[in-house]
Symmetry: C2
Subunit: 369 residues, 2 copies
């Protein structure tokens, strides 16, 4: 059973008409909005295409929380353990957002637009409401809105050539996790070298949803020379690449150290943020579980919609939360929180998938080789 | 295209296994969780059954935001314009939650469990993050959590008889929007006379998801004598009954007065809450649009997943956001914000539905007769 009942509450995007015309086979819902989840006949074909060519993805679900005003920088800093004082205009910063216990609320990309203006490009939780609560509670002088900004991703090894053909060679000068501005039909639009794949590419943060179909069409037309297809975040590529998904691999029950993001956390007292004391304690004591890859046998596994126990003998050492068959590695690959003591690559485990099978496997580093 | 891609991020409920066994035909996603959306062959058959018999609904998506501690009552009051000082333990209060501009953030049912303990049974937005932000920002002494509470609704004219047969005749003494406690397998469980239909019924706020299948089975078994079926909020019944849906009929762009909830708002200075000044200004100036019903011709209309213009001549006076064919009224019924000046029942309009047809109709009061 996999029908999705449509309603206005689950918002369409400026590209949904195009996505439907392109033959989308399924959606997910992120931030109260539609995210395309399947196009080609199989996820495998999409995967190979993404690795070799270029795809256009409707990622409007990456809503922007716009924080402006005299206290904007102070509020953003208060929301994250990452020191943002060295962020420059033109930077994209990956920032964990945590609660007072160190639990992860979201893991957005922060775009610094001006000294007093930021976008947080969010995963699936209402960061806007959290930010608004903090600001109202503390009486901070900020304006917090969800602007009419609708990201579209162009991903794959041919993305740069495609976009250079469309917007000029300045595209090639944009470095990873930096952004610049391009002209589209007389409007100034933000483009960043970023995206939810390991195959390279860009994201255009289109301001003005009414321009969506025209932008899609322009990219599509220019993309014909580069074998473009419609696509979406690819589960095989994401798991192989060790890209985590908020709500899947980690939730408010996890802290940044557990997902390998300790490197983004300032734990001394040089900056002030919600959850600093909790992170200091966690850093002192170490974590009892950490994210790892799990490679396992037994032919293509089913969809993982429940947590699958990862066992060492009779001891449960983790739970797989995303898994799929990798046609390249010719094994199943999954991601799991793994208990301390079982972290070493090569550690033998069994995986108990929801259709009832027990599969042999072992712990792997992330990303997979 | 209506496929829903399953993942752990879109959480299953304690009843999802049962719901699938019962032949669910579609889901929606609310609060990052699955809401069943169709069972019977048609929405019409479900509608007639709901009006005549009894149904069991998995409404676990109505997540509880639990607010406990010395400042709990002060925080809840700060979140809503409804005066909660007269709420007693055992009361359910419908409380609009608004932002500092008066825009609606959610419209939960508040259950007062103790002087220092509240549940907010929420519609589709992360009220937990908002409450947490307010509390952290203001330094309030509260603990805010999402407990393992999983509401199941028993709706329809036979709901009381069914539940009295299962839990005893004390069920009959529970008044509308009051709750009491029942014993289920040695656990104390909350039951309220409430639910998202106009056909009467109850909601059991099951504490302990592991008990979900057993509770479902108990109700199902006892329900055989009452012609029970699995069900879900029914779009025909909801629209006829004038029940609004956050994200569909109203969003943060709307204030409580626009959706007829001015009666819940205290606008004098006797209580202090976020958005009070904004509501005072709105109350002074009046609103420029209000929710109304629209009845319209032309045979069963398609699913409303985009806003449909409601016109008077060449002037757009509103947008229909939910609509469906009513087999009882033998017309289409919809809900729409309608501009001032066009509010009177009987006002002639045309409805421009997304498949391109223009249909004659008129404004109606809510609920429909």
């Amino acid at each position: 059973m996999d029908g999705l009942n449509m309603s206005r509450r689950i918002r369409r995007t400026p590209y949904t008409d195009r996505v439907e015309e392109a033959g989308v086979r399924g959606f997910s819902v992120v931030n109260h909005m539609l995210l395309p989840k399947a196009f080609g006949p199989t996820v495998e074909e999409d995967y190979w295409h993404l690795r070799e060519h270029v795809q256009i993805w409707d990622v409007s679900v990456q809503r922007q929380v716009q924080i402006m005003g005299p206290d904007a920088a102070a509020l953003v800093q208060w929301m994250t353990p990452r020191n943002i004082s060295n962020a420059e205009i033109g930077d994209c910063f990956y920032i964990p957002i945590i609660d007072d216990k160190g639990g992860l609320i979201n893991d957005p990309v922060m775009l610094k637009l001006a000294e007093d203006e930021f976008w947080l490009s969010i995963a699936d939780s209402d960061v806007l409401l959290y930010a608004m609560g903090l600001a109202l509670g503390r009486g901070m002088d900020v304006e917090i809105t969800e602007p009419d900004v609708n990201p579209v991703a162009i991903q794959g090894p041919k993305a740069e050539d495609l976009l250079a053909s469309l917007f000029g060679k300045k595209i090639r000068d944009i470095r990873f996790f930096k952004y610049d501005w391009i002209d589209f039909k007389g409007t100034r639009q933000l483009i960043a070298r970023s995206g939810y794949s390991r195959q390279g590419g860009f994201e255009i943060y289109l301001r003005g949803g009414h321009l969506g179909p025209a932008l899609w069409d322009s990219i599509w037309e220019a993309g014909q020379a580069f074998n473009i297809t419609p696509g979406c975040p690819n589960l095989i590529e994401r798991i192989e690449g060790g890209l985590l998904s908020y709500g899947n691999e980690f939730t408010r029950d996890n802290n940044p150290f557990e997902i390998g993001h300790g490197k983004y956390c300032t734990i001394d007292n040089s900056i002030n943020y919600v959850g600093r004391e909790a992170l200091q304690t966690i850093a002192l004591n170490g974590v009892s579980r950490e994210i790892r890859g799990v490679a396992f046998d037994g032919g293509p596994c089913p969809t993982c919609s429940k947590a699958w126990p990862v066992m060492v003998g009779k001891t449960q050492v983790g739970s797989i939360t995303s898994a799929i068959w990798s046609p390249r590695l010719k094994r199943n690959v999954g991601q799991s929180m793994i208990n301390r003591g079982f972290w070493d690559p090569g550690q033998t485990v069994t995986v108990h998938s929801q259709e009832g099978s027990v599969r042999l496997g072992e712990i792997s580093a992330l990303p997979f080789a």
